[in-house]
């Protein structure tokens, strides 16, 4: 269809966690697409289903309790949901890799960092031990750690350096898609900037597409080409970064921007969005955001809004704009 090739396309994905207490609807009817070399930001509150989406793409959702009910995840023309475990293992780490949130716990404490990078290389490339070690040292240097430290254990590194090691592991096999699950949340602000710069640099160098999961709109502005705002398992607004920052449409997105304190306004209080995320086992009827929405109408509590394209490449799930669309 499109002239640029799509690397990843998620169509109508539904992921639920089925527990004794009830069914958690973690991801509902999600559709996204990612072109080669692009960076997509997934933004949302804790529990909005961002990590579940990422694990869904990796096919790493624990079953039970998790279950992918329906949908398609098309990577490079092939549906990942139809692949066998053996085929998936060849893709993980090789073509799609993932950076986890907390570098403190995502490295194995009893293996040296060199061994951990070499492990991915040995798994996916046909090399012997010495070549793998050599490559792992090269990767360490790529992320700015001298290779003399490859025989050190994770506890001998600081948080920022551990995250660099994790990035080195993720990029060791030159994947086409990198999923970064809040890669800077556990780091302090100065290190965040370093890690983000490094990721941006390597992303261009290796020509990797990226899904950046975050709740930091600053990071989105800095690195993402497109953004999907998630709320309670739904994508509520999906557009490119420029549109989102200049012209947010969905009441939730507007609320998110309003809750960033502005240094020019001399206000003593923060302006949060009122209320809490709904209980994911018991989502409200209609639009999941309507109990907190300042512009809620009667229809919002009865029907679920559909995805509406208000401008080119600017999709919003909200009745406010569906009506506008219908009238015009």
């Amino acid at each position: 269809m499109s002239e640029e090739k799509k690397l990843l396309e998620i169509k109508n994905l539904n992921i639920h966690y089925i527990t004794h207490e009830g069914t958690v609807k973690a991801v509902n009817d999600m559709s996204l697409e990612l072109k080669k070399g692009e960076t997509l930001g997934l933004v949302g509150e804790t529990g909005a289903g961002k990590t579940t989406t990422a694990l869904g793409v990796m096919q790493l959702i624990q079953t039970p309790p998790g279950k992918i009910l329906s949908g398609e995840i098309i990577y490079d023309g092939e549906d990942l949901l139809k692949k066998s475990q053996t085929e998936l293992r060849k893709i993980r780490g090789n073509k799609i890799s993932m950076i986890f949130q907390d570098p403190m716990t995502s490295l194995n404490p009893v293996l040296t960092v060199g061994e951990q990078i070499a492990e991915v290389i040995k798994l996916h490339q046909n090399v012997d031990n010495s070549q793998a070690t050599e490559k792992s040292e090269k990767m360490l240097e790529t992320v700015g750690i001298p290779k003399s430290r490859s025989k050190d254990y994770p506890h001998q590194f600081s948080g920022g350096m551990k995250q660099r090691v994790v990035i080195a592991i993720a990029l060791a096999c030159n994947p086409k898609l990198l999923i970064a699950d809040e890669p800077t949340t556990a780091l302090d602000v100065t290190i965040q900037a370093q890690v983000m710069n490094l990721m941006n640099k390597l992303k261009d160098e290796f020509n990797t597409s990226m899904i950046m999961i975050t709740h930091d709109l600053g990071i989105v502005a800095e690195v993402c080409d497109k953004v999907a705002i998630m709320y309670a398992g739904h994508v509520v607004e999906y557009t490119n970064t420029k549109n989102l920052f200049t012209n947010p449409k969905h009441p939730y997105t507007i609320g998110l921007f309003n809750s960033i304190p502005n240094i020019k306004d001399d206000e003593a209080r923060l302006k949060p969005i009122k209320g809490l995320m709904p209980d994911p086992t018991n989502l409200p009827l209609g639009c999941p955001f309507h109990p907190r929405c300042p512009k809620a109408m009667s229809i919002c509590s009865q029907q679920e809004p559909c995805r509406t394209e208000i401008y080119k490449d600017h999709f919003v799930n909200c009745f406010l704009y569906e009506n506008v669309d219908n009238k015009s």
Binding site: S106, L123, R149
Partner: protein, 300 residues
Amino acid sequence: MTDQLNVNMSNEDIKKKSTKKRSQYLEVWRRLKQNKSAMVGLLIIIILILSAILAPFIAPYGIDDQDLLNTLQTPSKDHWMGTDNFGRDIFSRIVYGSIISLQVGFISVGIAMIVGGSLGAIAGYYGGKLDNLIMRMMDILLAIPSILLAISIVAALGHGLKNVMIAVGISSIPSYARIVRASVLTLKDQEFVEAARAVGTNNTRIILKHIIPNSMAPIIVQATLGVAGAILSAAGLSFIGLGIQLPTPEWGAMLSSGRQFIRDYPHMTAFPGLAIMITIFGLNLLGDGLRDALDPRLKN
């Protein structure tokens, strides 16, 4: 700006490089060295191992060199620990006995560790019905007193060193299965295991390379203490006549054969008993020391 920071960082690294690198096990060894009683235990074990290796050079007499003119001698210059009712030198027999004891101790613990450990790892990692099945079988084994279980296994398989090792090994499988399962359960949800899965590692490799090395601490402690238990069980089996048969110089069997002379010639039972006691004492001291050294909460 970032580049500047990078440069600073690598300079710092170069400085760091000169400080001594320590792996986890070196760290444990450093802590173990500070524990005096553990070092006493280690010394006892080293002496025992040396005497087992060098038995032919240390022992002044052979295993069953009978000297019928000198039966039931009390300790003297020629016979350091006296002689038994056939005139055999007790010291030599105890030295040779250390070979048997070490064999029984380490091999039966090895059997228990490998079988129990892999059953526990499988049960903990895969969970569900398989876990239930394996652990209920372990519960059945645990319900039978281990010495009784060992007696019945030896009774079924017959006497001999090999069967004693198998019997003692089987009866301590459940404890390893439980320990390994417990640590696998806490480890399998760790993020680094998920990260390993995310780079395409298969289950077997995750268990062997990521989970087992992280759960070594409790296994090492249990194994050290288990060797003591195994030596004791084997001696017990030999004492009641089900284990290693005479004239093999097994400590338990020596105790048993000295039993009828205990009123008049207590040295015949005292020395093998002492040998067992000191060995167990040493292993327990080392085991306790290892447990403290491997426990991260006691780091100092």
